[in-house]
Symmetry: C2
Subunit: 342 residues, 2 copies
């Protein structure tokens, strides 16, 4: 079968690789339909995660597809079932796993990082990682379930309630999905984004969006909240400017959810935490309930608006080069081939 392989920094190859006759006993084989490209895939592509991947490495983890075959121990998943993959492989033994927090397992492996990913024609994954989707959900939209589950997790940890004021710093795919989930919960959402094309997209989706390069975000949020401040702030930029402004926005005892992955320690105004008794929590990937919520919500969400580009698998190298450049790309999907229906 054909696969997209990461070889080394900036080097990808689309080529034939061998495939076993059947999936392993506890695995299923998914005929991949769509796979979204994510920031993590771009980090791997740029050579920033060479310590975690074994080359040649098959990229991708935001996939939808149809079950092609099941391993001999798999009884509850039928061939032909449409679904998505929750790409986590916890160890099952560490203190976090023992506490039922396997998504933050001390030795968490990520399917598509430490093991082969979805940018191939068939993807063998552990049966427990497969979640079926309803017939009403297209395979194309289903490729966005994984990032939507991230957003569901973030909003859940942020404890967002109806009527609350929420600020999302960064309107990339995750930021926009967080905004959608928070809005669905009944919150008033303000987005902050420096890219003008993303500002326009968020506006088209009906959001209140500020470009902090042209509008001072802090007084804007204070004015919109009657000088109270935001109930919940989501930091999705992973940039020092986000870490700086995030503490200035919340109300007394307001909450900050750190979603962006900061490669290095950054300066944070801890005095502001003292002054307003702010709370901050980190949020990582998702738990199973977030995936099922994402599947439940997906139909009602304008996911099409996020999908700016679709490439077929043979053209995946061009898709990476395109996404690495500066352009209006939001979510780029890779389609297995032209036989795949939406």
């Amino acid at each position: 079968m054909n696969a997209l392989l990461y070889l080394s920094e900036g080097k990808l190859e689309y080529k034939k690789i061998p495939v076993s006759d059947t999936p392993e006993a506890d695995s299923i084989r998914l005929k991949v339909a769509y796979c979204g490209l994510c920031g993590t895939d771009m980090h791997i592509y740029r050579g920033q995660m060479d310590s975690r991947v074994t080359t040649p490495h098959v990229l991708g983890h935001e996939a939808s597809g149809v079950v092609e075959a099941v391993g001999r121990n798999v009884n509850e998943i039928s061939v032909g079932r449409r679904g998505v993959v929750m790409p986590l492989r916890p160890c099952g033994e560490c203190p976090a796993c023992e506490d039922g927090l396997s998504h933050i397992c001390h030795r968490l492996k990520f399917i598509g990082i430490e093991t082969p990913g979805a940018l191939q024609e068939y993807w063998d994954v552990p049966a427990y990682s497969f979640l079926p989707i309803p017939e009403t959900l297209s395979l194309k939209h289903a490729a966005l379930i994984e990032p939507l589950a991230v957003a569901c997790h973030d909003v859940r940890l942020g404890d967002v309630r109806a009527g609350q004021n929420v600020v999302v710093l960064g309107a990339g795919p995750i930021g926009l999905l967080i905004a959608m989930v928070a809005k669905h919960k009944g919150a008033n959402v303000i987005l902050s984004e420096i890219s003008e094309s993303r500002v326009q997209l968020a506006k088209k989706l009906g959001f209140d969006v500020v470009n902090p390069r042209t509008t001072d975000l802090i007084p804007y949020v204070n004015d919109k909240t009657n000088q109270v401040g935001a109930d919940v702030v989501f930091e999705v930029t992973a940039h020092s400017s986000g870490a700086e402004v995030m503490t200035a926005l919340p109300r007394c005892r307001g909450r900050i959810v750190v979603v962006g992955i900061f490669a290095e320690p950054v300066k944070v105004d801890l005095k502001r935490f003292f002054r307003r008794e702010l709370q901050l929590c980190g949020a990582r990937v998702y738990e199973r309930e977030d995936f099922t919520q994402a599947i439940r919500l997906a139909d009602a969400f304008p996911l099409d608006a996020l999908i700016t580009d679709v490439f077929d698998l043979p053209q995946a190298p061009e898709a990476f080069a395109y996404l690495a450049g500066a352009n209006r790309a939001m979510k780029v999907l890779i389609r297995r081939d032209e036989t795949i229906k939406e």
Copy 2:
């Protein structure tokens, strides 16, 4: 009457100041017994808070005493009542006050900073700030109620439970009091402190204490917690080294309470919040329930061990100079005069 006045950086004067015939209508007049010196008093003494105080300024806010007189609107407090002062003056109108969080009022005034403090023979304070103490509690120990209330507040916001593993970074007066309150809640407490005299004092009180200059704190905490990590970490150093280590110690979904007041933003490893879904909250002063809890707990606590020195009011300038130096001082009390019984 006599008072200790702060004039300017490093300059204090003990002198006679006028006193009105009676306290204002809604105030009481306390005959001060003891007043503890606190880090904030030292900041004022060093000229670091000149923008907040009006000179000449009467210092001090950790006081105990006996009601000498009451204003004409005060009916529920009798002359002769022994008690302490919760030195907060909220505005009553801001969003925090509206939310019942008057201790983090947007325009909070601190009695003893923005208004005259307790280092005088008689101290007029709003009646609402006075809390009576039981006969069993000495006036000397009662001078530690204010910092003990800080500790009660911190431990409450840290949601410390019996059997949990708690790390306190910094074993000054507040750190030690937090350790005592956490231990009282049934937690296993590890203290980290770089001053050898403070290490010895904490050891004498029966605590597990580490000097991080000679013992690596992170493996120490991991070993003591079976590689799980701490449930709650209290950052009480206000030093960048504390901000650095605080994120390395908690278990998955563990909590950090920031107690130390960081003058400047410091580097924080936000990635660790992501990795373990850590939580952090700031804690500021106390609410009324913390003061009443402190009064309830004080009798059972070895507060004497914290009081390293007592000076009489006329010698208060020497007490400040002494506390500003490097020595074994923990809590320094100022006694009104030798007629004051403990």
